[in-house]
């Protein structure tokens, strides 16, 4: 490419492109980010990229923003950190806000009412499939016994006793860290 972009702009653009083309949330944009970070700009090599991805997977929070933050900081310090996060988050967030603003304005119209009604069965099935995938992942990682035991307790705690999910997740952490190694 003939044009040399200022580094901050390049960082912003790289993450903007990878995420705007990544249809289906953060995980769908990982290959696109790889393409920008490793293939196009050479900010990380292959090994560094997979190490970073491994670290990202062992931390909580959205994966796309973790990758952006790390690479942005690595390339251009804190300004790079901000530029990469801005490129990742702002375009799609602003689009969602404006789109919903228009829809909410016509909330009472039968067109928008029909749309919100018809979306419910798809969301239900989407969530059901995600439940299935998550359960399969759990069984693959810690086996049937632990998975069913944790799920049973979580069901009681969340559904019956209405305990905040934060406590349930922290208890599951403790179980994974201290009880699973004993078995």
């Amino acid at each position: 490419m003939g044009i040399i972009l200022p580094i901050g702009v390049a960082v912003f653009l790289a993450f903007f492109i990878a995420n705007i083309l990544g249809y289906g949330g953060g995980p769908a944009s990982i290959p696109l980010m790889y393409d920008q970070i490793v293939t196009r700009y050479g900010w990380l090599d292959n090994t560094e990229f997979s190490q970073m991805l491994a670290l990202g997977n062992s931390l909580p929070g959205p994966i796309a923003t973790k990758i952006a933050a790390y690479v942005g900081y690595d390339v251009y310090g804190w300004p790079g950190f901000l530029a990469a996060l801005a490129g990742t988050i702002i375009p799609s967030a602003v689009a969602l806000i404006y789109l919903l603003k228009i829809l909410r304005k016509y909330k009472q119209s039968p067109i928008v009412k029909g749309m919100s009604l018809l979306v419910q069965p798809v969301i239900a099935i989407m969530m059901l499939l995600l439940t299935w995938n998550m359960a399969a992942d759990a069984v693959g990682a810690i086996g049937y016994f632990h998975s069913i035991f944790i799920a049973g307790l979580a069901f009681l705690a969340l559904g019956k006793f209405k305990i905040h999910p934060a406590f349930v997740i922290i208890l599951a952490f403790a179980y994974g860290g201290f009880i699973i190694p004993l078995t």
């Binding site: 990544g22 249809y23 289906g24 949330g25 953060g26 944009s29 491994a54 670290l55 062992s58 931390l59 909580p60 929070g61 959205p62 994966i63 796309a64 923003t65 973790k66 996060l85 988050i89 375009p91 799609s92 967030a93 602003v94 689009a95 969602l96 806000i97 919903l100 829809l103 067109i111 029909g114 749309m115 919100s116 009604l117 018809l118 419910q120 069965p121 798809v122 239900a124 099935i125 989407m126 969530m127 995600l130 439940t131 998550m134 992942d137 810690i142 632990h146 998975s147 944790i150 799920a151 069901f155 969340l158 905040h164 999910p165 997740i169 599951a172 952490f173 994974g176 699973i180 190694p181």
Partner: protein
Amino acid sequence: MLNFITKEESFLKNPYTELTIGMMRTGILGFGGGPSVIPLIRHEAVSRYHWLDDDEFGDTLAIANTLPGPIATKMAAYLGYKLKGWPGAIVSVASHVLPSCIAMVFLIAFINVLSNSAMISNMIAAVMPVVAVMLGQMAYEFGEKAVKGLGKVLGITFFAISFLLLQVISLHPGIVIMMFLLYGAFHYKLKDRLKNKKTDSKEESA
């Protein structure tokens, strides 16, 4: 003393404080990528702080799925915007992403310890069944609502169509949602027309 208590209470009830606490909690506890964080955001936004009702949450989630880019940050931005406009959107997104983003920058030195530790991978894996239960509850509640709104026959028909498109044909969820949105725009019109036809034919036979 009394004054101090009310001050503290008003600090805790301040929308910015709620946004910061709620979205930070979802950012720190959301293990396992995008979808696992949706039930957590729903808990904070709908059950705990009542920023919006469940129907609006469902719409927002659906529309968010039809747009590109990370889901959780889009949801966070919308919730913040709804409460407090653009400053709210910034506070909400920053609370959601900054803790893990900053951890990412500083923890890279410990990469080998972290990504090879059996203890940490067990801890993360133990959260998965909890997330599965939360996703399952969400599926059940949206399913229940769909049946209530559409009736049993139509509800189950649309479940079957969604399952077919998502799982059997493996269409992208965003595209399936768009198809349903498109049909939804004409749903009430079609229903009215069918109803009129029925009453017409009844009148004719009578």
